[in-house]
Amino acid sequence: MGSLFSPGLAVSSRHTVQKRRELPIKGEILVRQGERVTGDTVVARAELEGELRIVRVAESLGVSPEEVHKALRVSIGQQVEAGQTLAEIQGLWGLFRSSVSAPTAGTVEFVSASTGHLGLRAAPKLLTLSAYISGTVFAVEDQRAVVIESEATFVQGIFGVGGEKTGRLKLLDVSPDAAVTEADLPREAQGLVLVGGRSPTPQALAEASKRGAVGFVTGSISGETLRQYLGYDIGIALTGDEAVPMTVIVTEGFGDIAMGERVLATLRAVDGEPASINGATQVRAGAQRPEVIAPASNARAGAEARTREDGAGLRVGARVRIIRVPHFGSAGTVSGMPHNLVKIGTGAWARVLEVTLVNGAVITVPRANVELVE
């Protein structure tokens, strides 16, 4: 076999990015095809059905479910205000009156003679959907979705936490293989997406968030730092809904791994420019990786336009990075692709590659353990 697919992550300074923005239910699209939008533009909205609150009328009044209808002061379909009396009973000689009032405004949807419960439907909620990235409305699906297209710098990370954010990219003044500490942070970080280094300390993440940064893109992170940042351990790579004010994206993996040169060079070219980021990661089928998107109008002219994905074929001469111990993080060039299965260190038989590392050493690695870097 001359080439085969190997997983890679997009790192490109000129990439056509399309983002589908879909309402969870049918609603109203607020933009037209061809219209220019920014990340904050509201492109669609919908009315979500209000919540149904269950009011335990029989229990509250101390009557049987069958007796509730006699106590009702409202009827099915009636709109009521918060605090309005829904049902009441009078005690002996009209004394000791007890009542149940509406916990919220809404419409009476049902009254059950079996349970003595009353269902109160709150008013619909307005849901709005932003464009997330700056660009042009490429397509509109009536009442359902829009697709925004943008020529942009596009960098995928390997793992992230936190959802969509927009902010201005700010490269930290640190070496790519230096652990990021509080001392490396800018004094003012409001609205910034900080980029650089590796393995930030828990204090650095907490302080960056406190200073108002909306994103932190770095080479790697330790599991313990992530636990301290989130307040709990993550066991499954299904993220994006974390309640954190600052989205964190790592480009290489867990541990102490320097940010890749190409990733850093690509993001350096758009330093200071607005960007959209999302930490959402889903490793299973329908894979989603975290991303940094900076529209092309902000990218510098003449920047290179290659991606890791461009070289989807793994072949002799391809640049690869090793993603598993004992050579985890090492980069090199494929110098051989033996056809036959080879017995590896574990005793298993696997298809392998010969990789010439930057220091000239030649090592043998299972093909499953490399990813393309160009």
Partner: protein, 620 residues
């Protein structure tokens, strides 16, 4: 056999091919990542599994058509076998009639777990009674239970509503109350479901499928309440009486909805279904069927585990108090070897994983290594210590998933067995069915077990992970063909059994694990092991060893305790005799008692075990 899942009685109605006429059958399992096609052929002596083809599953974008991946897998089978399977034209992709010995197939069958499998929400009134029965019905039908809601689960209404909204189930199974009992709680649960109005995962214009299998006297009212937001089907109560379960009708309804609402709305499945006269089965349901068939045929108690990248399924057949075998299945949704490997760390804790390692590693390095596997799930261990780390995680995943299984695989005491206190508690008397001392056979499936570089590694993972006791036959699924055989068995049980016995099961050896009181001193011999009348050796306290590894066939094993308190399966001091099959591992003797004392689980101790079993060589 009692089936906590019920028997799929209607399936025969779909079979249009006489099993006696079958000679060539093609079966696919469309998994989340890979579609595996296997060819089964009847030769002169028996049925054989002959060729295998694989291709990436194509349910997701950009292809979004499962049949593309299936056809690619067919192509591989065709190329390898030289048999003309694919048909250039027509609705079906293959030659259906075997006009010549090398052309066509007689029947196509499939199972599916693509798109995350069948995901369900169950709701009941009492968690230890009706909700638990509903869980067993859903699990037995091959579903993953995303959430269980009960009236007595200690949550407030709003908390239940939030949880229900959070999951997007394919199907809801609602139950509650015995027939003739109070209806108010179950009606209340229906109201809660309406308040939450969960949206189905597929087909957002569809109403959510809800199966009501509760108190029959409440069915009309429940149906009326739920019909506003759901397509409701009413079936017989899963728990008509406190002392009786009736899971079959609910399971049938789940399979019907699986086809009509889940499969038919998944990309390309309409076409795939049209290729087969037999309905597509959820993958775990098919595995469960072949496990049951095997247990029934061999009259053994069986424990089968399928440890995947994201989930671990456990299947068991154990006798109840009446001696009747009962089948159970559970799935631990977030215990797996790649996507959810870090969750095994979270649930088990670093110390429990590290106790199986023959080397020291810091908690930080352990955490980072496992999380790197989580985010790059297709990578494989290259170094021996990395392999041992994954296998240590496997032991913990097995331990945790078995504990989960034991909690749900329960028998229900009959009326005469229930005490007066049980009646007042309004709960049935449950008892655990799984008894490791009485377990005859373990079947391990999934890459970490089936494709371990040595069978001894697989054997040790099962012995240590499950904490096996007594005498247990150890086997692995050679190439994960149990789903294929499960659906094949729905057409031809005999053919499927033949292939299962000869081509699927690999008997790797037999474990002998004496259990004894702590007072027996170190280095004392616990039991003698004889095979076919010949003394092979003794099992020493605290030691792990193998005997008779050169013997690969069948033999009569006799284990004689050397102390009155040592139990190897027949009771303290009693001799155990059993016919066993000895594979590569021979007889694996573990004298570390159960549970293994922490003092016997240091890196040095574990290294000694690995050395004794010849596991430290790697590629040498």
């Amino acid at each position: 056999m009692k089936r906590n899942t019920g028997k799929d009685a209607t399936i025969k109605a779909f079979v249009k091919t006489d099993p006696r006429q079958l000679k060539t059958v093609l079966v696919t399992d469309c998994g989340s990542t890979t579609t595996k096609a296997l060819l089964f052929e009847r030769k002169e002596d028996r049925w054989h599994q002959t060729f295998r083809g694989e291709a990436p599953t194509t349910v997701e974008e950009p292809v979004a058509d499962v049949t593309v991946g299936a056809r690619n897998a067919f192509v591989e089978v065709q190329e390898l076998s030289g048999r003309q399977i694919l048909n250039a034209g027509g609705d079906k992709p293959f030659e259906i009639t075997a006009a010549s010995a090398s052309t066509g197939i007689d029947l196509y069958l499939s199972t599916s777990s693509a798109g995350g499998g069948l995901q369900m929400l169950v709701a009941g009134v009492v968690s230890s009674i009706t909700t638990e029965s509903a869980e067993r019905a859903a699990l037995g039908a091959g579903a993953i239970v995303m959430e269980s809601i009960s009236a007595d689960d200690g949550r407030q209404d709003f908390e239940r509503i939030e949880r229900i909204r959070h999951v997007k189930p394919d199907i809801v199974l609602m139950t509650g109350g015995v027939d003739g009992g109070s209806t108010s709680h179950v009606v209340e649960m229906a109201e809660t479901l309406v308040a939450a109005s969960p949206r189905p995962r597929f087909g957002d214009t569809l109403k959510l499928p809800v199966i009501y299998a509760g108190n029959s006297e409440a069915s009309a009212e429940v149906q009326e309440i739920l019909s506003k937001m759901a397509q409701v089907v009413v079936v017989e109560n899963v728990r008509p009486e406190l002392e009786r379960e009736n899971l079959g009708p609910a399971r049938e309804a789940i399979h019907d909805f699986f086809l009509s609402h889940v499969m038919s709305h998944s990309p390309g499945y309409g076409k795939l279904m049209s290729w087969s006269p037999v309905r597509i089965m959820p993958t775990p349901a098919a595995v469960g069927d072949i496990v049951q068939a095997y247990a029934q045929k061999t009259k053994q108690s069986v424990l089968c585990v399928d440890i995947g990248g994201a989930t671990t399924d456990v299947f068991s057949v154990f006798p109840d108090r009446e001696g009747e075998p009962v089948f159970n299945r559970t799935v631990s949704a977030n215990l797996g070897m790649s996507y959810s490997i870090a969750n095994v760390l979270v649930e088990a804790g670093a110390a429990n994983i590290k106790r199986w390692l023959p080397f020291e590693v810091s908690d930080a390095e352990l955490s980072d290594r496992l999380r790197n596997k989580m985010i790059r799930p297709t990578s494989i261990p290259q170094a021996l210590d990395d392999l041992w780390l994954e296998q240590a995680v496997c032991r913990e995943a097995l331990r945790l998933s078995l504990a989960h299984h034991c909690s749900l695989a329960v028998g229900i005491a009959k009326k005469q067995e229930r005490g007066i206190a049980d009646v007042f508690r309004q709960s049935s008397s449950r008892y655990e069915l799984v008894d490791l001392m009485k377990l005859d056979m373990v079947i391990g499936s999934g890459g970490v077990l089936s494709h371990a570089p040595s069978r001894m590694q697989a054997a040790l993972m099962m012995v240590e992970g499950f904490g096996l006791q007594g005498v247990t036959q150890l086997s692995v699924d050679s190439v994960f063909m149990m789903p294929h055989l499960g659906v094949f068995a729905s057409v031809s049980p005999e053919a499927a059994y033949e292939v299962f016995e000869h081509d699927c099961l690999v008997h790797v050896g037999c474990a002998v694990v004496p259990v004894f009181p702590a007072k027996i001193s170190k280095a004392e011999s616990l039991a003698e092991v004889h095979l076919d009348g010949k003394l092979l050796g003794r099992i020493s306290q605290g030691q792990v060893s193998t005997l008779s590894t050169a013997h690969s066939g069948q033999g009569l094993l006799r284990v004689v305790p050397l102390h009155g308190s040592v139990d190897v399966g027949a009771g303290p001091g009693q001799v155990t005799e059993r016919t066993v099959r000895l594979g590569e591992c021979g007889i694996l003797c573990d004298g570390r008692n159960r549970p293994v004392a922490p003092a016997l689980l240091s890196p040095a101790q574990q290294l000694a075990v690995f050395e004794a079993l010849g596991l430290t060589g790697g590629a040498a």
